[in-house]
C-alpha cells in the first residue's frame, strides 16, 4: 500500500478537500474538508441538516461531490472506475447505519457472511469468520434468525459484525446508535470502537449524542456544509 497522497505525503488514510455538493439549489456541502488517519476514531457532529450524512456519503464514494476531491490511500476516488470504487467499498470500507440495513430474507449469520462472499470468499469459510465476529459482538446465539426476529440492539450488533468481518481499514458509521436505548447504544459503541482499535481500523462516526462522541479521539463539527475541527477551530483538511 502506498502512503503517498496527491495532497502531500501526510500519512492520512483519507483526505477530502473543499467538497461541494448541491441538491437542487441547496448547498449540502459548501467547501468541507476532512482528514482521518489509520486507526483514528473521528466523531462528526453538528445540527440536523448541516451536511453530516452528505459528507459521509461523499467520503465513502457513495455520492459523487460536485466539487473538491477525496483521496483514499493515495488514490483519488473520482478518478476510479465504478468497478474499482465498488471493490474499494467492499474490501476496504465497512458501513453501519442508524437502521442496520440487513437483508431481511437472509439469516443473521448469512448477512454477516455476505460481506465476505461479495469479495469472493467461499460460503463455509465466510460463515465461520462471520461466527467469530458474531461471538465477539455477543450475538452468536441469533445466528439462524432473520433480522426481523431479533431485537434492535442485536440487529445493530449484527450490522457491526457485518461491517467489520471483511477487515476494513475504514468504517463509516452514521448514527449507529440512533435507534437504540442508551445501554444498548453503549454496548454497540464499546464493541465497535474496541474492535476497530484491535484491528487498527479507522472510524468516521456521525452522531448527535455527546456520550457516543466521547468514544472518539477527535471531533469535527459540521455547520452549514463546512467542517471544522472542534478543538482547533481549523478546517478538517487544508
Amino acid at each position: 500500500m502506498s502512503g503517498t497522497t496527491a495532497a502531500g505525503n501526510t500519512g492520512a488514510l483519507l483526505t477530502a478537500t473543499r467538497l461541494r455538493k448541491y441538491f437542487g439549489s441547496t448547498a449540502a456541502l459548501n467547501g468541507a474538508g476532512f482528514t482521518i488517519d489509520s486507526g483514528e476514531v473521528v466523531a462528526v457532529m453538528g445540527p440536523s441538516g448541516s451536511g453530516k450524512s452528505t459528507l459521509l456519503h461523499c467520503l465513502a464514494g457513495i455520492l459523487e461531490p460536485d466539487g473538491g476531491t477525496v483521496h483514499y490511500d493515495g488514490r483519488e476516488l473520482s478518478a476510479l472506475s465504478d468497478a474499482e470504487r465498488s471493490r474499494l467499498r467492499r474490501g476496504d470500507f465497512g458501513f453501519v447505519f442508524q437502521f442496520g440495513q440487513l437483508v431481511p430474507e437472509l439469516t443473521c449469520v448469512e448477512n454477516v457472511a455476505l460481506s465476505l462472499r461479495l469479495t469472493g470468499v467461499g460460503r463455509g469459510k465466510a460463515e465461520s469468520s462471520a461466527m467469530e465476529w458474531m461471538a465477539r459482538l455477543e450475538v452468536d446465539d441469533v445466528r439462524d434468525k432473520r433480522p426481523g426476529q431479533v431485537s434492535g440492539g442485536q440487529r445493530q450488533r449484527v450490522a457491526v459484525a457485518r461491517a467489520l468481518v471483511a477487515g476494513p481499514r475504514l468504517v463509516f458509521a452514521d448514527e449507529p446508535t440512533g435507534a437504540l436505548d442508551s445501554l444498548n447504544g453503549e454496548r454497540v459503541m464499546e464493541l465497535l470502537t474496541g474492535a476497530a482499535r484491535d484491528t487498527g481500523a479507522a472510524v468516521v462516526l456521525v452522531t448527535h449524542d455527546v456520550r457516543v462522541a466521547a468514544y472518539s479521539d477527535r471531533e469535527v463539527v459540521v455547520r452549514d456544509g463546512q467542517a471544522l475541527d472542534a478543538a482547533t477551530g481549523i478546517g478538517g483538511a487544508p
Binding site: 474496541g194 455527546v210 456520550r211 462522541a213 466521547a214 468514544y215 479521539d217 471531533e219 472542534a230 478543538a231
Partner: protein
C-alpha cells in the same frame, strides 16, 4: 463561582461604589444568594492589593461602601484571561458559566467562543471518563457514568446557550 472575577468584570463598564456593585451583582447573579457587604469589601481590598482595581474617589461619610472603584488595565487583562480559560468540568457549574457568558456579552467579548472552548473541555473529560469506564470494573463504570451524565447535561446547556446567544445579548444589553 468566582466573586472576584465577576465583580471585576462588572467594573469594566465604568467605576462603581461598593454598594452599587453589590446591588448589580445581586440583580444579575445573586438570585438566591445575595452577597454580604463583608464579601464585597474583602474582595475589593484583595483586588486593590493585587492592582486590579484602584480607588476612584470616596463619598462623604466614611463606610467602605462609600469608596468608588475603577478597574485597571491589569484588571481588564485579568477578566479577559478568566473568560478565555475553560472551567474545570464539574457538576453545578451553571452559575459560573452563566456569569461568564453575560460578562462576555456585556464587555463585547466572544461569548460563542467561550462556550465552544468550554464544550471542548467537557468533551475532553468525557473521553477520558469513557476510556476509564471501558477499561474498568463495574464500580468504575458506575462512578464514571454518574459523572458522564452530569457532563452531558452541562454540554446540552452549553449548546442551548449558544443557540440563544443573540437573544441573551439583546436582554443583557
Amino acid at each position: 463561582m468566582s466573586i472576584g472575577n465577576t465583580l471585576l468584570g462588572l467594573l469594566e463598564s465604568g467605576p462603581r461604589h461598593g454598594y452599587d456593585l453589590k446591588r448589580l451583582f445581586d440583580e444579575r447573579f445573586g438570585h438566591d444568594r445575595p452577597l454580604h457587604y463583608g464579601q464585597v469589601y474583602s474582595t475589593m481590598s484583595r483586588l486593590l492589593r493585587n492592582g486590579l482595581v484602584e480607588v476612584d474617589g470616596v463619598e462623604a461619610g466614611s463606610g467602605p461602601e462609600r469608596k468608588r472603584y475603577a478597574i485597571t488595565d491589569a484588571g481588564i487583562t485579568d477578566v479577559g484571561r478568566w473568560l478565555a480559560t475553560p472551567e474545570k468540568p464539574e457538576p453545578y457549574l451553571q452559575n459560573t458559566l452563566y456569569a461568564k457568558v453575560v460578562l462576555a456579552l456585556l464587555t463585547g467579548r466572544d461569548a460563542a467562543g467561550l462556550l465552544d472552548v468550554q464544550r471542548n473541555e467537557h468533551l475532553r473529560l468525557m473521553r477520558e471518563l469513557t476510556r476509564r469506564k471501558t477499561e474498568g470494573d463495574l464500580a468504575d463504570r458506575l462512578v464514571c457514568d454518574h459523572a458522564l451524565f452530569h457532563l452531558e447535561a452541562d454540554i446540552r446547556w452549553l449548546e442551548l446557550a449558544t443557540d440563544r446567544l443573540d437573544r441573551l445579548a439583546g436582554e443583557v444589553a
